[in-house]
Structures are given as C-alpha cells and as structure tokens.
C-alpha cells in the first residue's frame, strides 16, 4: 500500500479535497454563504483548515461499507439466533427504550445539522468533513432503528419512538438540546455538537455504556454502538480541529467561542444525566459507575484537552467543578424521579435490590448511604405495605434544559436548587446557575421553549387527565408504563426462562 511511487497520504488528501471550491461569479460569495458571518466569527484563511484524518471520499465509502457489512452480519445473526432471550435480564430492554426514543432521534437531528453546516461554511475542507459526518449520523439512526426494531417485536414502549420523541415530557430534554443547536449559526453548531458534545461528552455514552451492552449479552447493540463510535473518533477530531481553527484565525473569536463552550458543556452535562441513570440503575450487570466514567472521560480526558487549549486562552467550561460534584448525585436524583413518575414513562422502573444497593453504596461512598439509600429503603417498605409511592403532581420545569426541578443546590443535597429571573414582565425558572446564565445571554430564544407541562396546562396535549395525555403520547396504558415487576415484559421474560429451564431438565 505504501509503494514509493504513490503519493503520500497527505498529498492524496490535498489533491482530493482542495480546489473543490471556487469564487462564485453569478452571485457574490456573501449571498451564497449568508450565514457564516453574523455570529461574529472572523476567518482570515479557510485554507489553513487541517483535517488530520485525511480520509478521502473513496476511502470513506470503502471503510463505511465494510463497517456496515460487519454490523449487519451481527444483527442478522442476533435475530436468527433469538439473541433477545440471551440478554442478562428482561430489565435490560428498558435502556433500549430510552435509547431509541431519546438518543436515536438526535442522531437524525445531528445529520440534518451537519448537512446544513456543511452547506453554509465557506471552506472546502470543513465542508467535506461536515458532509461525511452528516452521512455518518444518518447511518447511526438507521442502524439503531434496525437493531432495536428486533427488540420491538418482544418488548413494549418503543412502537412509536418518533412520535414519542416529539411529545413525551422528558424527551423534550434531548429534543430541545438539539433544537437549540440546530437553530444556532453554523459556527455555534460546530462548537455545540462537533466540539462540546462529540469531543467532550459522547465518550461517556458510547464507550462505557456500550461496553455495558456487551456485558449484558446484547451483541447487536454493542455492535451498532462501537460501529457508530468508530465514526465518532473522526467526529471528535473534527471537533478539536474546528476549535483550534477558530481560535487560531482571530483573537476576537476567543470570547465568542468561550461562551459557546460554557453553554454547551452545561447543556451536555444536563442531557447526559439520563445516561448516568442508565449506567447506574438500568444495566443489570454493571461495567463502571457514572462517577468513574465521569472521572475518566471528563476529569482526566477533558482536563488534558483543556490543558492543551489553554495556549489559545481558552478556559475550562464555566461551572465544570459543579458538574463534577454533581456526578455523585445525578444518577440517583434522576432514577428517583422516574421511580415516582413510572406511570408517565414509556419504560419500566424498579427499586434496586440489596446487591444493587450495596454496589451503589460502594461506588458512591460520599453520597449514597447518606442521601439516597434511605429513600429507596423507605419506598421499598411502602411498596411492601401496598402503598407504592407515585407522584401525581405536574412538575415545574427548567426553562432551558427542560428537566423537572429535581436537582439540588451545589454543596447542599437536601435543598432543591432554584433560580428565577424576569424578562418582559414574565417570570422564568431554572434548575441551576448554568441554565440561568444561558437564558440571560439569549432570553429571546428561550422564552419560545415548548415546555411539556405548560403545554398540558394549556390544553395542547390530548386532554386534562394523565391517561388522556399518555394516550396522546402514544403509550399503551398498563403495558408500556409502571413497574417492571408485574409488566407484560416481565411475564414474557419469565416464560422464556421457564422454557430454558424445562429444556435443560
């Protein structure tokens, strides 16, 4: 492959990606690229763009085709061999419900966002990289739908994931995150998704969580996960390149970029709380705790990255210390919320058993026994007495992240964190200083938020009662929601296992 007569990789890449663009003559360049200046970012020389992967389109198609062949061989084999009966426990299927309704639709949003950004950046190198990423993201949602459709034949709650994504109360959290990114200018989108999300945060989802899928016997999900993540490596490289490029192009770019990094780090941190809960509570066999994953992928890897970017004057994202402190709380606070609202979720919840509680105590020595274990033990006791606790109140939501106001004050886990501000005579509420700052920077944007609870009260969600709203969400009441114990999912799982024991004896 490396014969001396051939061009080197660098030269091949240059030949195949330079000279693709031209100065337009029928229309002025500023009319052809109308969106790459209003954000205030100054670019002096687009040709300084470096793509370190130097992947040309022909190699891209070759490798992507190979990845797809391997992935589909696994999916086919999983289906043919009834792989769903070999997962660690029926509870595991619930992470896939969250994945398909909450994460896969964001792959599609990312696909559209990168298609738009690729169209609207003036530099050819950046456009090629965005085009590849846009196609990758489309591949990701397709492979995820394909993989999880097999589980949909057996488990409840994922029959109408796309409608649920647009309507369900807690799915407005990921939806609004990507809506926010996609309604930003192209450079902010690149910092939001390319840098803050891909580089700093997606490892937490696609590495330890997917390793968890492997550990729980879900060979099809780990395969799409790692197949997607092999594209993510390229995306992360694009993310780091874009930030270096912007910071090198003009010193005026630094404060703009810093503000975006601060904003999107905080928004990403809030969004990933759902993955924290998936890892600590929903994987029957656990790989590592959320806190351990946060330490590896944010404290250690993020720390190295920001140490590197310090030479441009870029600082660690604002409130990163608070985010790190919250890594000891967020999974517990989220699972507690879903436990109380299990009737309004499209997946099942359960109380951790004693072995699981002990694991959490061991992994969270500073917080679990003190703040959360007693809560689960109390709920366990109540359930035993026939008084399973449900919370029927409609919760107040944060205007920015749209998460119910369930998080606690930094340093005071017994007090709910609550911030508010006024804008144009209206009062707005926030879960944190991070979300409050984001609002204050762009209030005109966030006053338009589609907040699920407000929408229910305004009569826009199917009716005034919980069953009517859940019907509008597309849930099958009594099948998709409530506890795992007693669910049709559990009944089916137990039947499969009874059959296995019978076959063995």
């Amino acid at each position: 492959m490396s014969g001396t007569k051939k061009l080197g990789l660098r030269q091949r890449y240059e030949h195949l990606t330079r000279g693709l663009d031209w100065e337009t003559t029928y229309q002025p360049m500023d009319k052809v690229f109308p969106y790459d200046e209003f954000e205030g970012i100054k670019i002096k020389d687009w040709s300084a763009w470096e793509d370190p992967f130097r992947l040309t389109m022909d190699s891209y198609w070759k490798f992507q085709a190979e990845k797809e062949r391997k992935l589909y061989a696994v999916l086919d084999s999983f289906a043919q061999n009834n792989g769903q009966t070999g997962i660690s426990d029926g509870r595991y299927a619930n992470v896939l419900k969250l994945f398909l309704t909450g994460i896969s639709p964001e792959e599609y949003q990312a696909h559209r966002g990168f298609a738009f950004t690729g169209r609207h950046l003036r530099g050819a190198g950046a456009r090629v990289a965005c085009q590849m990423q846009s196609i990758d993201e489309l591949r990701h949602i397709q492979t995820q739908i394909h993989t999880i459709s097999h589980f949909n034949k057996y488990f409840n709650g994922i029959h109408d994931f796309s409608k649920m994504h647009d309507r369900v109360w807690y799915l407005s959290v990921p939806k609004s995150f990507f809506d926010d990114a996609r309604t930003s200018g192209p450079f902010e989108f690149m910092i939001a998704i390319g840098f803050a999300f891909e580089y700093v945060l997606t490892n937490l989802l696609f590495v330890p969580f997917m390793s968890g899928a492997a550990y729980n016997g879900d060979m099809s999900t780990v395969t799409f996960g790692f197949s997607a993540q092999s594209d993510e490596s390229r995306h992360m490289t694009l993310g780091i390149e874009v930030i270096k490029f912007l910071l090198e192009q003009h010193p005026d770019n630094l404060p703009i970029v810093q503000k975006w990094v601060d904003k999107w780090f905080w928004r990403g941190h809030r969004l990933l709380g759902i993955v924290a809960m998936m890892m600590d509570y929903m994987l029957p066999k656990k790989v590592m705790s959320w806190k351990e994953a946060w330490d590896i992928y944010f404290v250690e890897a993020g720390g190295a990255l920001f140490q590197d970017l310090a030479r441009y004057g870029l600082k660690m994202p604002k409130y990163h210390e608070i985010a790190t402190a919250e890594a000891e709380h967020v999974s517990h606070q989220n699972w507690c919320t879903f436990y109380q609202y299990t009737h309004a979720a499209n997946f099942h919840t359960w109380l951790p058993d004693n072995e699981h509680l002990d694991w959490l105590s061991e992994k969270y020595p500073n917080t679990f026994d003190k703040y959360y274990r007693p809560r689960f033990e109390m709920w366990g006791q109540m359930a035993k007495e026939g008084k399973r606790f449900y919370n029927n109140a409609l919760v107040q939501l944060c205007q920015v992240c749209q998460i119910p106001m369930v998080y606690t004050e930094p340093g005071d886990p017994n007090t709910i964190c609550f911030r508010e501000t006024q804008f144009n005579g209206q009062r707005y509420h926030f879960c944190s200083d991070g979300c409050s700052d984001i609002f204050k920077n762009e209030p005109e944007k966030y006053v338009q938020a589609w907040l699920p609870v407000q929408q229910i009260f305004q009569g826009n969600c199917g009716g005034a009662t919980i069953p009517e709203v859940l019907d509008w969400y597309g849930y099958k009441f009594g099948e998709d929601n409530f506890d795992y114990v007693g669910s049709p999912d559990e009944k089916l799982w137990n039947e499969w296992h009874a059959d296995k024991i019978k076959a063995a004896s």
Partner: protein, 90 residues
Amino acid sequence: MAQLASITLMHNDDARPVIESIIADNPGVKILNMPGAVKLDCDGRITVNRASVEERLGRPWNLQEIHLVLISMAGNLDEDDDTFTLSWRH
C-alpha cells in the same frame, strides 16, 4: 496533571494485532480492559506503527484500516502512511 494520549479499540480478532503493536511500541502504556473494548493510555503520546502491525498480521496493512476497529481516542492526531500518532505535545 498528566495529559493522557489515549486510544480505545474493539476487543476482537481484527484489533488484536493493533493492540499488541501499541503495547509493544509504547513503553509505559496503561491498559484498561472493558467488556468488548480496550482503552490504551500513555502519558503525552501514543503511536500505532504500520510496520509493527504488519509484522504481527503477516500481510500488508493500510493504516486507515484502523477505522474498522477504532472506538475512541484522545489527543491531537497526526496520521501519515506509516504512523498514527495521538499526542498532547507540540
């Protein structure tokens, strides 16, 4: 604080010669085994050498084939026909 250059690969047969080459060529590499994946960390810099992988594989190997088994990485990437290096040094 140590700046770890890092590469995470699938733990499968295609990746095995790559993993072995990295371990052989990067003294002091730390290995984190996870189900299905292996994370290799080195302070400051980590390199994959094409020649090293070819020696173990017994056939010519295009460095870009690493895309088929790559899960994640950390560091600034420098890639040419012979080496694939992630580093935090300039």
